[in-house]
């Protein structure tokens, strides 16, 4: 018995604690439940995304960083911890910078025409036209085709001078010299950008169209009554109204545009090692990291390149975000420049000072 007494707390204490707990339960159970519900439920509801993201997004990202910090052979695995050596190597490798130049060049050649084209198509589809659905479905059709099929078709559309190709037939019909579509740098970039544009313009046009449909029609009427022409209405009403969607489209186009892989990989079947043309004239960064990982079997360096590309995409994404915010000025304070706002503030202060 004494041992049992020794184990338990003194009786009085037990009683007080029990009473306290009982009071709390009877008094606040519902409230506590409701408070818990209020605080925790939202997190519960959004958790599936974060759990899935953690498994298929965050984990590979972190693991890639782990691999990047090691000397890592694709087949035999981890060899030694090397710190940031792989990153230093990548930054010093001429082919890495070559791939960055190619990627950015193809990205610019694809994203800019693509967005302008998508805006124009969306604006046209936003008009009163016959067979609306047919047209709208029509612009989405290229998106249904996989990038691989697109690459295969376009790689026979664009061939070197001397070979039979649709692109050179057109060039020659226009009276120009045939172009070395696969050998020269700029033509090969244009050909690859064409594949990207062909596939994505219609898709982006539909997204922009859905945003345009949501613009209140009375804005257009008011603008028309004020004497604004169609073009003026487009720039002053449509563009500012679809700004958030435009930003979304710009950011997704950036993310895709900087990760182009299938198109350059399949554009030149002669170079199976993923070098993107004999002189690496159209090797994009993702293709370069593929070559590193799966052809040269250096997973460590490939992972370092993957991370550098990740950082590049985020920074270009942010720059685009800022630029597109600036380009298409929205409502409120954003319309005023910093200097104007400062001037206003100064004027306000002066007025107050005078009043005093």
């Amino acid at each position: 018995m004494s041992s049992m007494l020794g184990q338990g707390p003194p009786e009085a204490v037990v009683e007080t604690e029990w009473a306290e707990a009982e009071r709390r339960r009877s008094l606040t159970w519902r409230q506590r439940l409701s408070r818990f519900d209020l605080k925790a439920s939202p997190y519960l509801y959004i958790s599936p995304f974060f759990i899935v993201f953690g498994i298929v997004g965050l984990f590979p990202l972190v693991y890639t960083l782990y691999v990047a910090l090691h000397d890592w052979d694709l087949l035999s695995g981890k060899e030694a911890f090397v710190g940031f050596e792989n990153f230093a190597w990548a930054l010093g490798d001429q082919f890495f910078w070559n791939s960055i130049v190619n990627t950015v060049s193809i990205f610019l050649l694809s994203t800019i025409p693509q967005l302008i084209g998508a805006l124009v198509i969306a604006a046209l589809l936003d008009q009163q036209i016959r067979a609306k659905t047919t047209w709208r479905m029509g612009v989405l059709l290229p998106y249904v085709v996989t990038p691989v099929a697109v690459a295969l078709i376009f790689s026979s559309v664009f061939r070197n001078a001397g070979d039979a190709s649709l692109a050179n037939n057109i060039v020659e019909a226009l009276g120009f010299e045939p172009i070395e579509w696969k050998r020269e740098r700029l033509p090969s970039h244009i050909a690859i950008a064409t594949m990207v544009n062909w596939r994505w313009t219609g898709y982006n046009a539909l997204i922009l169209l859905s945003a345009m449909q949501a613009v209140p029609r009375d804005l257009y009427e008011a603008a028309a009554i004020d004497g604004a022409g169609a073009i003026k209405r487009f720039f002053s009403v449509t563009l500012p109204s679809i700004r958030p969607t435009l930003i979304f489209v710009v950011v997704t186009a950036t993310v895709y545009g900087l990760q182009i892989f299938a198109e350059p990989r399949l554009y030149d079947v002669s170079n199976a090692g993923g070098i993107g043309g004999a002189d690496r004239q159209f090797q994009t960064t993702v293709l370069y990291l593929w070559e590193l990982a799966f052809f040269r079997r250096n997973s460590g360096r490939a992972s370092a390149v993957a991370w550098l590309l990740f950082l590049l995409i985020i920074s270009i994404g942010l720059i685009n975000f800022v630029i597109s915010k600036r380009l298409v000025a929205g409502e409120g304070e954003n319309q005023l420049s910093r200097r104007e706002r400062r001037a206003l503030a100064r004027a306000e202060k002066d007025r107050k000072a005078v009043a005093r």
Binding site: L58, L61, N160, V269, N271, I275, F310
Partner: protein, 449 residues
């Protein structure tokens, strides 16, 4: 300032989207792999599913059917990958991931060197009695599948003895001769002689002799006693006088306009095989099907009748016997049905089955009995002027030796010499410049990798 909250949400969304997309292209571990069927190996008539991965034209489809008829308890699930290059990526990725390999995996000679560094990803077939069959195969074929520790990891399927494919009509016009005997006699000799005949052809017709330098270079290098590596596995390119000398001979030929500077695996959509762009082609057995398919596609595109195009196959190869390609069947260490998989792979590589495979896909058998059978009973191949290709290949296989293939052999072939030879073909580099480019690439891609 309510937007600050939405802005951070946007930042998060941008980051998340970017991360997701980037991650999506990073990992690629799908396919939980074959052998979930855990039937005990010793119970041989229990239902069992065996998975197998092959590539290119392997010619196994009918053999699978036959095997399943012979063994009603066996189900074969086959995957065929379009090219050897993609099969290489697939196999490497799955070895790296540690899972996903099918029970039987076809390995190609060109990247076997890299596999040998991780040969324990595959079973030692001596445990399944391959030693009893060792004498079935050409000795060097069996040796190729043996790793440095003496483990044997592959059942040999086919080999790639090389002959010369040629346009009989064009060679006749150029006065070189057109029958297989005439052409074989005219081309007998070393590579310099082969190119001299090419110069003669060029003189007569003004056209190129071979399609592009890459395949010719492969032929030359594969033929040497030692290629890019010494027999002890040391990289030996930069100061390899034999290699450099051969490179110069080839560069001279290219400078004289013998190369048509074609894009390999495209060949202007196959049209170059029918429009007379070039007259000869280095041909391992498996290449015959490639030429046939490309010529058909090209003839259709160019509007030329195949009746006006005469391809033939001569029993000759400059510089002697050479081998290009050939495959093995390996049993993955992660397989749950190793015993049954080994039985299937063993059956598939028996001489009788290799003969059926040759009939279906033109892959030349690696077993001695099957090769003898082809030599004894020639079957004409209509596309190649009814040439007895099996017999010719059997003759071309005589004297072929295995060359040691190092871990980076395919990298050197594709990414080091590939660009240099294309520069040569384009005329943008002479022999010295192209060689210097290759050495520089070698140092950047292989030595300092």
């Amino acid at each position: 300032m309510k937007w600050s909250r939405t802005r951070s949400a946007k930042f998060l969304a941008v980051g998340a989207a970017a991360a997701l997309l980037l991650a999506a292209c990073g990992g690629d571990n799908e396919e939980p792999g074959g052998g979930d069927d855990t039937s005990a190996p010793e119970q041989n008539d229990e239902p069992v599913t065996i998975t197998i991965t092959t590539f290119g034209t392997f010619g196994y489809e009918e053999l699978y059917e036959e095997y399943m008829e012979l063994h009603p308890n066996v189900t074969i699930e086959a995957t065929n990958i379009d090219t050897g290059g993609n099969a290489r990526t697939d196999t490497f990725t799955k070895i790296a991931a540690g899972s996903g390999l099918t029970d039987i995996v076809a390995l190609e000679e060109g990247w076997l060197g890299a596999i040998m560094e991780v040969s324990d990803a595959f079973e030692d077939l001596r445990d399944y009695g391959i030693e009893d069959r060792a004498s079935d195969w050409l000795d060097w074929k069996y040796q190729q599948a043996t790793d440095p520790d003496g483990r044997v990891i592959g059942y040999g399927t086919d080999i790639g003895p090389e002959g010369i494919c040629y346009r009989a009509d064009l060679l006749r016009e150029a006065g070189i001769g057109s029958t297989r005997e005439e052409v074989a006699a005219a081309l007998e000799g070393d590579w310099a002689h082969f190119f001299d005949v090419g110069r003669q052809y060029r003189e007569a017709t003004g056209k190129a002799w071979f399609d592009h330098s890459g395949f010719v270079w492969n032929g030359i290098v594969n033929q040497m006693e030692e290629g890019y590596y010494t027999a002890d596995g040391e990289l030996n390119v930069e100061n390899n006088a034999e290699l450099r000398e051969a490179f110069d001979v080839l560069a001279d030929a290219v400078a004289d306009g013998l190369s048509a500077a074609q894009a390999a695996w495209d060949w202007n959509g196959g049209q170059s095989f029918v429009d007379g762009t070039f007259a000869t082609f280095v041909c391992p057995g498996w290449m015959l099907g490639v030429i046939e398919g490309n010529a058909e596609a090209g003839a259709e595109a160019a509007g030329i009748s195949l009746d006006d195009v005469e391809w033939d196959f001569a029993d000759v190869f400059p510089g002697g016997a050479a081998n290009w390609g050939g495959s093995f069947l390996a049993i993955s260490a992660t397989s749950q049905v190793k015993e049954q998989a080994a039985a299937l792979a063993d059956w598939l590589t028996q001489p009788e089955q290799q003969l059926k495979q040759f009939e279906a896909a033109g892959t030349f058998p690696s077993t001695i009995a099957a090769a003898q059978e082809l030599a004894a009973n020639p079957t004409p191949r209509p596309f190649f002027n009814d040439a007895p290709v099996g017999q010719i290949l059997a003759s071309r296989a005589e004297g072929v030796r295995a060359q040691f293939k190092g871990p980076d052999d395919s990298v050197i072939q594709e990414n080091v010499f590939g660009p240099a030879l294309q520069a040569l073909d384009q005329g943008t580099a002479d022999a010295d410049a192209a060689w210097a480019q290759a050495i520089q690439l070698l140092n950047e891609l292989v030595v300092n990798n």
